[in-house]
Structures are given as C-alpha cells and as structure tokens.
Amino acid sequence: MMMIECPICNEKRPELEFRYAGEAHIARPENPSALSDDEWAKYLFIRNNPRGTHFERWVHAHGCAKFFNAVRDTVSDKFVMTYKCGEQRPSPETIAERSS
C-alpha cells in the first residue's frame, strides 16, 4: 500500500486515509465580476495535466481532515514531497533533490 506523508500529522499514513483534491496553487481571482466568461471558465475548469511533476492538493480525510499540497510524479505515481497550504511551490532544484 502506498504511504503518504501528511505535513500536519508529520507521519506517513496509508493512502486509504487520503483523498485527491485537484491541482494546487490555483488562486481564486480577486474580483470575479471583473472577469469575462472565458476567463472565469478558465479559472473554474482548465487545469494542467502534465506528464511528470504535478502540484496537487490532497486532504487527509480520515486523519486530521486538513488539506495540504503534494508534488507527485504522474508517471511513477511517486510522491516526491508534501507541504502545507500557503507555502511556496517547491523549486525545481528541491524537487530534483527529493526525487533522487
């Protein structure tokens, strides 16, 4: 079973306790009413679907119940690292270091 490190609980837990919650680092527009329909649709629906490093949100649903962010490789399904919401997107150097 895959183990995922929850950055709030600070331990590795079985994947059964977690739920995927979409792409990370998508900021809600400050002023939605100023946006065109296309721009709003882009915010709501358009997501990256990279082959390789993906930044995504997860929730420790059957644990602390908190959301956090993760870097996962979509090819190998390996979790490179996890970090708290609000923290900066990890740099390519950090990711390369953690991946090796």
């Binding site: 079973m1 709030i8 609980c9 079985p14 059964l16 059957h62 644990g63 602390c64 908190k66």
Partner: protein, 191 residues
C-alpha cells in the same frame, strides 16, 4: 490465533448490546462495548487555544494525535483545531458550563454523545486483531501508549487510542458498529 466460532458472543442479529464481550479463553484478545459516555467535538482556532485553556481550566493537548487524561475527561487532539472530549455522562453538563466561560473568541462545542459507541479491545493479540481492518503500524515504537488518531477500519472511520500497551479504545459511529463487529469477528476467527 484461532477461535471457536460457536463460542462467539457477538451476535449481529441482536445489533449492538451493552456489556457483551467476546472472550476467547486461551486466546489473547477481548472485545468489549464500553458504557454510555458524554462526547463533545470542540473546534477552536489554534491561536485561541491558550486563552481557551486558561478560561475553562481544560488542559487541551496541543500536539496532534496526543491526549490529556484525568479523572474527569479524556481529551484527544485530532487536528490542530479539533478535539474530541469524552467523559462520564454526569460530567457532560459541567464540561459544557466550563467551556462557556471562554468568551474571548468564537469556538464550537457540539454534543456528539450518541453519535459514537466505543469499544475496548484488549489482550496480547489486540493490535493484531485491530490490524484485521486497520493498516496502521501498531508497534509500541510507532504507536505508543497515549497516542490517538482518527483513521480507517475497513470502510468505516474510527478514532483509535492506545490506553495501555495491550488495551485500545476505539470510537466508531453508532450505525457502523455492527459492521465493525462483524469484521472483527471474522478476523478473530481467521487468526
């Protein structure tokens, strides 16, 4: 472990009955339904925890997945802003009154007394029995006495707390209890 299925006292057609236990002589685990409890779910911002503890006199543990225990209550920290408080039924009202003393910031205290039932799983084989449905590593090094956590048991969510080396306290939503017992019962027989 092995067991005699005909000896099982966990009869699912009776639903969950108080005081029944599954005890396998020569076997190393017991399952016992705990009596009635008062339960509260407390939600409070992390930044207000110290003020809340001071005003109410409740010693909220601030480290996630740890507990505070005294004669009155068992307080489990399930998340940085969430606690499950368990006490004897007659202590519930007093706890509520204590919490009302905190007026400096918003908090939520919900009476969930009858949402859950609780079981004591005890004996040398207790951890092994729980692992029938729960994949956590229950070795004393990784799950020491005094540790608690919300986790999963097969398809049901539970709160697991290690009271002593060989006694676990499991909180589970009431309607999942027959399911929980049937999984435990099957698991116990298979071992």
């Amino acid at each position: 472990m092995s067991s005699d299925a005909t000896n099982s006292t966990l009869e699912m057609d009776q639903g969950v009955t108080m005081g029944q236990s599954l005890d396998h002589p020569g076997q190393s685990f017991t399952v016992e339904l705990m009596g009635e409890k008062s339960r509260f779910s407390l939600r409070l911002r992390e930044s207000n925890v110290a003020a809340f503890a001071k005003a109410t006199g409740l010693a909220l543990p601030t480290k996630i997945n740890t507990v505070y225990r005294d004669d009155d209550a068992l307080i489990m920290c399930l998340a940085p802003d969430e606690w499950l408080i368990i006490a004897a039924p007659e202590v519930g009202a007093t706890l509520q009154e204590k919490c009302k003393r905190h007026t400096a910031s918003p908090f939520s205290l919900v009476d969930v007394s009858h949402r859950n039932v609780a079981f004591h799983i005890g004996g040398e084989g207790a951890a092994q029995l729980i692992n029938v449905g729960c994949p956590l590593d229950l070795d004393l090094a990784t799950f020491p006495v005094g540790k608690c956590t919300r986790t999963i048991f097969e398809r049901a969510e539970i709160v697991l707390f290690r009271e002593t080396e060989t006694i676990f306290h499991i909180e589970i939503w009431r309607s999942f209890a027959p399911y929980f017992l049937s999984v435990l019962s099957n698991g116990g027989q298979a071992q």
